[in-house]
C-alpha cells in the first residue's frame, strides 16, 4: 500500500472516530442538561421541607388577656385579647430593648404569631395564668438565614435582616431556641402572601380536581371514538377527515385551547371562572387526541385472529368488539390515558387564560370553587421575588415532578403487567 492510500485510510478512520465522538458528546450534553437541571431544583428546594421555629416563653396573664371570669369558658378564651400577651412573648427575648425598636423583634416571626399564641391556649386551656414555652413560626428572612441561604456578609443596608436581628438570632441559636422541623404546613396550608406561611394545599386540590374532571370528560369520549374509528368506521372521505383532524389537534399549541376555554366555556356557556371544572374541561379537550391515538394503537395491536375466532363462534361485530377486542386493548389504552393526564398535569398556559391564576387562600372543596393548580402555583410564586419563594417554587416543582414520575411509572406498570404479548 502506498503512502497516499495509507494516509487516506487514516483520515477516514479518524473521521469515523470523530463522528462517533460527536454523537457521544451530543448525548452527554443532553444528559448533562438534565443533571444540572435536577441538581439546581433539588439543591434549591430541599430546604423548603424544613420549617424554622423560634422558641420563646409566653405568659398567659389573665389581666393582659382581659379575661374577667373566674373559670373562663371556651368562648371567653376565644374572644380574649391576645395582642399584649403575644407581644410580650416576643419582646421578652430582649428586655433591654427600647420600646420604639420593638418592631425589629416582632419582624422576626410571621405576622400570624398572635394566632399561634391563641391556638396554643385554646388547645391547652389549663395554661391560663402560667408561663409556658411556645414555638412561633420564624419569618421567611430568619428562616432563610437559618438555612444558610442568605448571605450575612453584605452591607447592612442591603440586607433584609439587620445586625440587631442577626445578633438576636445568634443568641437564640446558641441557646438552642431555633428549631428546624419537617414542614407539614407546606402540604396542609393554602397559598399566602408570606413565604413562611405559604403552602401547596389549595393548588394541590385544584390540580386533583382538574385532573379528575379531565379524566371524566376525555376518557369515555376518547375510548368510544377510538373504537368507532378502528373497528366500525367505513373507509371514506369523512372518516379520513376525522383522522386528519385528530392528528392535527394533537399538535395544536396548548395556549390555543386556553383561548377556546375562554371564548366558549366562559363567555358562551358562562361556567364559573377560575375553577377546576373549566380548567379540567379545557385540559380534557387537549388530552382527547392523545388518548384517541393511544387507544387506536392498542386496538390495532390486538391480532385479527381474536376477532375471527369470536366471529366464527357467532358473535356479532359489536359483541366481538365489546367482549374481546376492547378488554384486550385496555392496558395500552389505560397507559396512554395516564400519559395524557400526566401531560395535562404539567400544563400551565391554558389554565392561566381561564383565570386559575387568581390568588386563592382557601382550600377548594369542590370542582366549582376557585383554585390554582400546581404548575400555575409555580408560575405565581416565581413571579414573587422574595428568597423564601424561590425555595418554595423549587419544592413545588419537586412535588410536581414526583407526581409525574409516579404517573409515568403507573403507566409502565399497567402496560407491562397486564398487556398480553402476541407473537
Amino acid at each position: 500500500m502506498n503512502n497516499y492510500k495509507k494516509n487516506l485510510l487514516k483520515k477516514r478512520y479518524n473521521a469515523e472516530r470523530r463522528f462517533q465522538w460527536y454523537g457521544k458528546i451530543a448525548i452527554g450534553l443532553a444528559l448533562t442538561f438534565l443533571a444540572v437541571f435536577m441538581f439546581q431544583i433539588f439543591s434549591k428546594g430541599y430546604s423548603a421541607f424544613q420549617k424554622t421555629w423560634i422558641v420563646t416563653e409566653v405568659h398567659y396573664d389573665k389581666e393582659l388577656l382581659l379575661i374577667d371570669a373566674e373559670s373562663p369558658s371556651k368562648d371567653d378564651l376565644e374572644n380574649a385579647d391576645y395582642y399584649d400577651v403575644a407581644y410580650k412573648a416576643m419582646t421578652s427575648l430582649d428586655p433591654g430593648l427600647p420600646e420604639e425598636e420593638d418592631r425589629q423583634l416582632i419582624q422576626m416571626v410571621s405576622y400570624k404569631y398572635e394566632t399561634e399564641v391563641k391556638d396554643l391556649l385554646l388547645k391547652n386551656p389549663d395554661f391560663l395564668g402560667k408561663i409556658v414555652p411556645i414555638k412561633l413560626t420564624a419569618s421567611d428572612d430568619v428562616d432563610q438565614v437559618h438555612k444558610g441561604n442568605y448571605p450575612r456578609d453584605i452591607p447592612e443596608k442591603n440586607r433584609r435582616v439587620n445586625d440587631y436581628q442577626l445578633q438576636i438570632y445568634d443568641m437564640l441559636n446558641e441557646r438552642g431556641d431555633i428549631l428546624s422541623e419537617f414542614n407539614i404546613s407546606f402540604f396542609t396550608s393554602p397559598d399566602s402572601r408570606e413565604a413562611e406561611l405559604a403552602g401547596i394545599a389549595s393548588s394541590f386540590m385544584g390540580t386533583v380536581f382538574s385532573i379528575l374532571v379531565c379524566l371524566a370528560f376525555s376518557f369515555p369520549i376518547a375510548v368510544l371514538a377510538a373504537i368507532y374509528l378502528e373497528e366500525f368506521a367505513p373507509k371514506n372521505k369523512f372518516t379520513d377527515f376525522i383522522e386528519v383532524n385528530i392528528n392535527n389537534l394533537a399538535a395544536v399549541p396548548s395556549i390555543v385551547f386556553g383561548l377556546l376555554g375562554l371564548g366558549i366555556l366562559l363567555a358562551v356557556f358562562n361556567l364559573p371562572r377560575s375553577t377546576p371544572l373549566v380548567g379540567g374541561i379545557t385540559l380534557s379537550l387537549m388530552t382527547l387526541p392523545t388518548i384517541i391515538i393511544a387507544a387506536r394503537a392498542s386496538l390495532k395491536a390486538v391480532p385479527p385472529s381474536i376477532r375471527e375466532a369470536a366471529l366464527a363462534m357467532g358473535a356479532s361485530n359489536m359483541q366481538t368488539t365489546m367482549h374481546h377486542t376492547v378488554p384486550l386493548s385496555m392496558p395500552g389504552t389505560l397507559s396512554g390515558t395516564i400519559i395524557g393526564l400526566a401531560q395535562a398535569l404539567g400544563e400551565t398556559a391554558p389554565l392561566i387564560l381561564i383565570g386559575m391564576v387568581a390568588f386563592v387562600n382557601t382550600i377548594p372543596g369542590t370542582p366549582v370553587d376557585p383554585a390554582a393548580s400546581l404548575p400555575v402555583q409555580i408560575y405565581i410564586w416565581s413571579e414573587s421575588a422574595e428568597r423564601g419563594f424561590v425555595e418554595k417554587v423549587s419544592a413545588c416543582i419537586m412535588v410536581l415532578l414526583a407526581f409525574l414520575i409516579l404517573m409515568n411509572l403507573a403507566a409502565q406498570i399497567v402496560r407491562h403487567k397486564f398487556e398480553k404479548k402476541w407473537s
Binding site: Y228, P253, G263, T348
Partner: protein, 458 residues
C-alpha cells in the same frame, strides 16, 4: 334543577334496564327468546335515556337565545346598536339574579320581571315535555319487549351511533377552536385594519386603553402591528433549533446506529425525560439560572445583556425540544431498510460514511418532517417565553436583548380580568388565530412529509 333532571333520567334508565330484563326473564321461563334477556334491558334503557337527554341538550342550547329575543323585543323601537342591546340584556339578567349594582330604571325592572317569568315558564315547560317524552318512549319500548322481537340489532345500531357521535368530538373541538378564535378576531379586524396588524411594526396595545368612549383611531392604527411578535417568535424558535437540531440529530444518529443495546435501553428514556418536564419548570429554570448566567458571561465579555434575553429563553426551549428531534430521527433512521446499509458496507464505506452519504439522504424527508414538528412546537411554546424572555415587543435581531412572542403577548393581555369587547382583548384572539394558522401549516406539511416517507419504505 338541571342536575336533578339529568340524574332522574339516568336513574330511570337504570331501573328500566332492570324491568326490561325482568319482563324478558318472565317470558323466557315459558318460551324461547330471540335475544339474551339483557338486550331487552338495554333496549328499554336506551329508549328511556336517549330521547329525553337529546331534547334536554337541545332545549338547554336554544333556551337562552329564545328568552333573549323575547326580552329584547321591547327595545326594538329604540334604535339601539347590537352592543347596546347586549349591554341591556346583561343588565336585565344581573338584575333578575340580584347581582346588579347600577341604578334601576322602571323599564329595566319590568324587563327583569319578564325575564324571571319567562325563565319560570321555560323551566316548567322543559320538565313537563321531558316527562311526557319519558312516559311515551318508555311505554312504547316496554310494549315492544316481546318474544318475537329481535332486540340485539336495534341495541347494537344504537351503540354504533353512540360511538359515531363520540368520534365527532374531535371535529367538534376543532370547530370550537376555529369559531372561538374567528368570532373575536373578526371583531378585532373591524376596529383595526388587517393590513396594519400584519405589517405594522409597533406592538403596544396598552396605549389604546381609554377609560371612557372610543380610543383614537390614529392610536389604534399604530398600536397593533404584529411584526415584532412574529419576528420575536421565529427568532426565539430559531435559537431553540440551533441548540436542538445538532444535539438532537447527532444523539438520534448515535442511538440508532452506534449505541449498544444497553446504552440505548437507558439513554433513550432518560433523554425523553426532558420532554416530560412541564414547561413552567423550564421557564423557572430559564428565568432563575440560565438568564443570570448568560448575563454574567456577557458582562464578563463586555457585552450589554438584558437579564431577560432571547438567548436564554431560546436555549432552554432548545433543550426541551432535543428529545422530539432525537426520538423522531431515531425512528426514521431505524426505518431505513437494512439493505441500503449492507450495500454501502459492501463497497468498503465506514460506518460514518454510510450514515452521512447513504442513510442521512435516505432518511432526510423524515428528518425534515420531525424538525418541522419541532419548530411548530417551539412556535407554540408559552411558559418559557413568558417567564424568561421579555414582555415588551422589541423588533430586534440581537439575541442578547429581550423580545416577545405571540404566545407571551396572549398571556400578558389575557392574564387577570378580561373585558370582552375591548380591542386589546380581541387582539389576543387575532394573535391566537395567526398562531393556529402557522402551527397548522407546519403540522400539515410535516405530517404529509413523514407519511409519504413511511410509505416509501413499507
Amino acid at each position: 334543577m338541571n342536575l336533578i333532571l339529568v340524574t332522574f333520567i339516568i336513574l330511570l334508565a337504570f331501573t328500566s334496564y332492570y324491568f326490561g330484563r325482568k319482563k324478558a326473564l318472565v317470558i323466557q321461563s315459558s318460551q324461547r327468546l330471540t335475544a339474551l334477556p339483557k338486550f331487552y334491558g338495554y333496549y328499554l334503557a336506551a329508549w328511556c335515556a336517549a330521547p329525553a337527554l337529546i331534547i334536554f341538550v337541545l332545549w338547554s342550547v336554544f333556551e337562552p337565545s329564545i328568552v333573549k329575543t323575547f326580552i329584547l323585543q321591547d327595545y326594538t323601537d329604540q334604535n339601539l346598536t347590537k352592543n347596546e342591546l347586549q349591554l341591556i340584556y346583561t343588565k336585565v339578567k344581573a338584575l333578575a339574579v340580584g347581582t346588579y349594582t347600577g341604578n334601576i330604571t322602571n323599564f329595566l325592572d319590568e324587563s327583569a320581571n319578564k325575564y324571571i317569568q319567562l325563565k319560570g315558564i321555560a323551566n316548567s315547560a322543559k320538565v313537563a315535555i321531558i316527562l311526557a317524552i319519558l312516559i311515551f318512549s318508555l311505554s312504547f319500548a316496554y310494549r315492544s319487549v316481546q318474544k318475537n322481537n329481535r332486540m340485539r340489532e336495534p341495541v347494537e345500531i344504537f351503540l354504533k351511533w353512540v360511538l359515531f357521535v363520540a368520534s365527532l368530538g374531535a371535529v367538534l373541538v376543532t370547530i370550537g377552536i376555529i369559531f372561538s378564535l374567528l368570532f373575536e378576531a373578526i371583531r378585532f379586524f373591524q376596529a383595526v385594519k388587517i393590513f396594519d396588524f400584519i405589517f405594522g411594526t409597533h406592538w403596544y396595545p396598552a396605549k389604546t386603553f381609554v377609560r371612557d368612549g372610543q380610543p383614537d383611531p390614529e392610536l389604534m392604527k399604530d398600536a397593533f402591528g404584529a411584526v415584532p411578535l412574529f419576528a420575536g417568535t421565529f427568532f426565539i424558535a430559531f435559537i431553540a433549533m440551533c441548540v436542538a437540531i445538532p444535539i438532537g440529530l447527532l444523539s438520534g444518529i448515535y442511538l440508532s446506529e452506534y449505541a449498544g443495546r444497553g446504552v440505548r435501553k437507558y439513554a433513550k428514556p432518560i433523554i425523553e425525560i426532558l420532554a416530560g418536564i412541564p414547561t413552567v419548570v423550564y421557564g423557572f429554570f430559564a428565568a432563575l439560572t440560565v438568564g443570570p448566567f448568560v448575563k454574567e458571561i456577557g458582562n464578563a465579555m463586555g457585552l450589554e445583556v438584558s437579564s431577560e434575553s432571547a438567548l436564554a429563553a431560546g436555549a432552554v426551549m432548545g433543550v426541551m425540544i432535543i428529545p422530539f428531534i432525537s426520538s423522531l430521527s431515531d425512528d426514521v433512521i431505524t426505518a431505513v431498510p437494512q439493505n441500503l446499509r449492507d450495500g454501502s458496507y459492501a463497497m468498503g464505506a465506514t460506518k460514518s460514511e454510510t450514515v452521512k452519504k447513504v442513510i442521512f439522504p435516505a432518511a432526510l424527508p423524515g428528518i425534515v418532517g420531525s424538525i418541522l414538528l419541532a419548530v411548530s412546537r417551539a412556535v407554540g411554546e408559552t411558559m418559557i417565553v413568558v417567564m424568561a424572555s421579555g414582555l415588551a415587543a422589541n423588533l430586534t435581531m440581537n439575541p442578547l436583548e429581550s423580545t416577545s412572542t405571540i404566545t407571551a403577548q396572549i398571556v400578558v393581555i389575557l392574564i387577570g380580568d378580561q373585558q370582552f369587547g375591548d380591542p386589546k382583548t380581541q387582539s389576543a384572539f387575532a394573535l391566537g388565530i395567526s398562531l393556529f394558522i402557522v402551527t397548522l401549516f407546519l403540522n400539515v406539511i410535516a405530517l404529509s412529509v413523514v407519511k409519504r416517507y413511511r410509505e416509501k419504505y413499507e
